[in-house]
Subunit: 363 residues, 2 copies
DNA sequence: AACTTTATCGTGTGCGCACACACAATTTTT
DNA sequence: AAAAATTGTGTGTGCGCACACGATAAAGTT
């Protein structure tokens, strides 16, 4: 099955390996007769290129740009980079090189500077994480004009662009549904809920809205007559403020059974509920951050929906590899699996995180 | 960082590439002076071999034996093979070849025949799935004597063998704990449970026992005063028999809230409960088989703990690769993640299965 | 002194591919 | 008709590595 080389093709088609190569890569300069002969042989022997040899021959000929917001501190973006590097390690010997481009999330014109640098560096493909605004349009136009294929991560911006390959990201709607289901299963008597959006930047609100509508849709589908209180909290670092809000919700809603925190700030809520001795409330939040792991161990009934951010970067790189080197057709949308983490199965997920960290440290 | 080759090492140590190669592979025939010089250079430049080039140079020099029971029909074993093939596809160009060896689970002496074939074929490494009995001991001795490294999957047989690399498999105890937790969360009023072991072959009972003790341990830890009925059903294909058992359990235990089926036969239980109009009972079972997917969609409250059998084979192959080609130290035990699948997040897991099937079809 | 043996080390080749270059055959231009 | 441009093909090289083979020098043997 395997082991067919261009030599085999050449000898079957009675041409040289050079001609086979020209046909394979559409380099032109081949007569119609030779071309058809080669193509027949390719089909007959079911030729697939040896990627190992190709990678060796190519040697640093695929430059990939990674375009991310400049959030050095943020664990979420750190994990993206970990995943990207993990995939990169697997494919770097195949002739790939990556280059990071970080833009300032808040500073206008920051993306313009990136575009200038991209022009100089002549990249072949890109992984892009931008929000849907005026600036990003420029970037996509640039990529289009320069025939740079790209994968979007994090935010999916609809755009009829022939160079757009895939969106890799989380299914916010489904994760909201899942959260509602978990609360419904875990809350026995009190079936009223609250949704807390804890996020300082409004830019991420599309995600949060999708989570919210997923949550509400589930309750409707199940025909549950639950009351749902919805709050948006922008002052995420101020503990007192949060305590006040929580107290308010608890006192006004006597039948409250669960809280859905649509971001990764669930640990703050958990700590306050322990203070207030209201750990009867079931919690659902996102992301296996260090703080969330700690609270998950302590808090009686709590679920973390883990989006495994590192997988997002990992899949994005892997998709590029598949496209550039294997001519594989990619799914236009790739949703990450939604892992449900509790005290009981936490250890398995920690193992996987550990591995990621080890790998990224080595790079 | 990367891009250091043996040439660089050779020129820094002022020896030839041949000598560097001899040091790298402990081939001997190198003076102490040269060896230390080379080793210094290796450390200083932080050399890592280019696996792509190595794979090209090696060309079919790693023969790997896959030793599995002959269960062509069983979906579980099919998935193992899918995972193995998926990993194989990723590494086949690196000079690996695999060969399947299927033994008859029930037939005495079947493993002996395998050993004879292994002797002829001169394999370098193996992935082994055997139960702990007399026969398997012979196999392990053979592997040991012939310096064949091996990974165990499915069943972990303790053995002080220098050629044993890793066990890759499921954490049965934890999966039992997880099942108990799910039932505890999902059952609101009736906190009595039943455990059903539905399995014709007694050989797999060590797994089932571990699941059972994990289940019971959780209940103890939580100080729940639940009654737990335990039944072992060997006549798994006879629907009437099963109906009788279920009816018996239901009539005798009025406070029954959930059923834990320790195998993949949960679909049969679900169908009967629908017939009996007792879908108030919460179900927990294993494995995303086609039948289980169907019942999962229909049944009101049900969890599938998915062990992702294909991952088991996948990791096993990947471990061999890491060991043989990257000299990486392997974890002695690698547990698979326990995915919790419900109606709501089913779609994500189906995507992954789909991908696996596509890949395996191509091979 | 003329050998053989042994330890140590360098060189060369090929893995399969991409690509540059050389050269021949053919067509177009002068 | 000769010169120039174009097209079609074959050959050669290198990517980094593993490994066979041969070369060299030192040590041992007759």
């Amino acid at each position: 099955m395997a082991g067919i080389t261009i030599k085999d093709i050449a000898s079957m088609a009675k041409v040289s390996t050079g001609t086979v190569d020209r046909v394979l890569h559409n380099r032109g300069g081949v007569s119609i007769q030779s071309k058809t002969k080669v193509e027949k042989a390719l089909k007959k022997l079911n030729y697939t290129p040896n990627l190992v040899a190709r990678g060796l021959a190519l040697k640093d000929s695929y430059k990939i740009a990674i375009i991310l917001p400049k959030f050095d501190q943020d664990e979420y973006w750190k994990q993206q980079i970990i995943g990207i590097k993990r995939a990169y390690k697997e494919i770097q010997n195949f002739g790939f090189t990556i280059k990071m481009y970080n833009y300032d999330f808040l500073h206008q014109g920051s993306l313009d500077a990136i575009i200038k640098r991209l022009k100089r560096h002549k990249v072949h493909a890109a992984i892009v994480a931008v929000e849907s605004d005026q600036e990003s349009k420029k970037l996509f136009c640039f990529l289009e004009d320069n025939h740079v294929f790209y994968i979007q991560i994090n935010a999916h911006i609809e755009r009829a662009n022939p160079n757009f390959l895939s969106f890799v990201g989380q299914d916010s709607f489904q994760s909201g549904r899942l959260a509602a289901m978990l609360l419904n299963y875990a809350c026995h008597i009190n079936k009223d809920f609250a949704i807390l959006h804890m996020e300082e930047y409004l830019a991420t609100s599309p995600h949060l809205n999708k989570k919210q509508s997923g949550f509400l849709t589930y309750l409707e589908d199940q025909k549950l007559k639950s009351k749902v209180v919805i709050k948006h909290i922008q002052t995420v670092t101020q503990r007192d403020e949060l305590r006040k809000v929580l107290k308010g919700i608890l006192s006004k809603n006597k039948k409250l059974g669960g809280l859905f925190i649509s971001t990764s700030r669930v640990h703050a809520v958990g700590e306050i509920l322990i203070e207030l001795k209201r750990t009867d409330i079931v919690l659902v939040g996102f992301d296996l951050l260090t703080e969330n792991i700690e609270i998950l161990k302590k808090y009686p009934k709590m679920f973390i929906i883990n989006q495994n951010a590192s997988l997002q970067g990992f899949y994005a790189m892997q998709f590029l590899f598949k496209h550039l080197m294997q001519n594989q057709n990619l799914e236009k949308i790739k949703y990450l699996p939604l892992d449900i983490v509790t005290k009981e199965n936490l250890i398995n997920h920690l193992h996987m995180q550990q591995r990621d960290k080890l790998i990224s440290a080595k790079i």
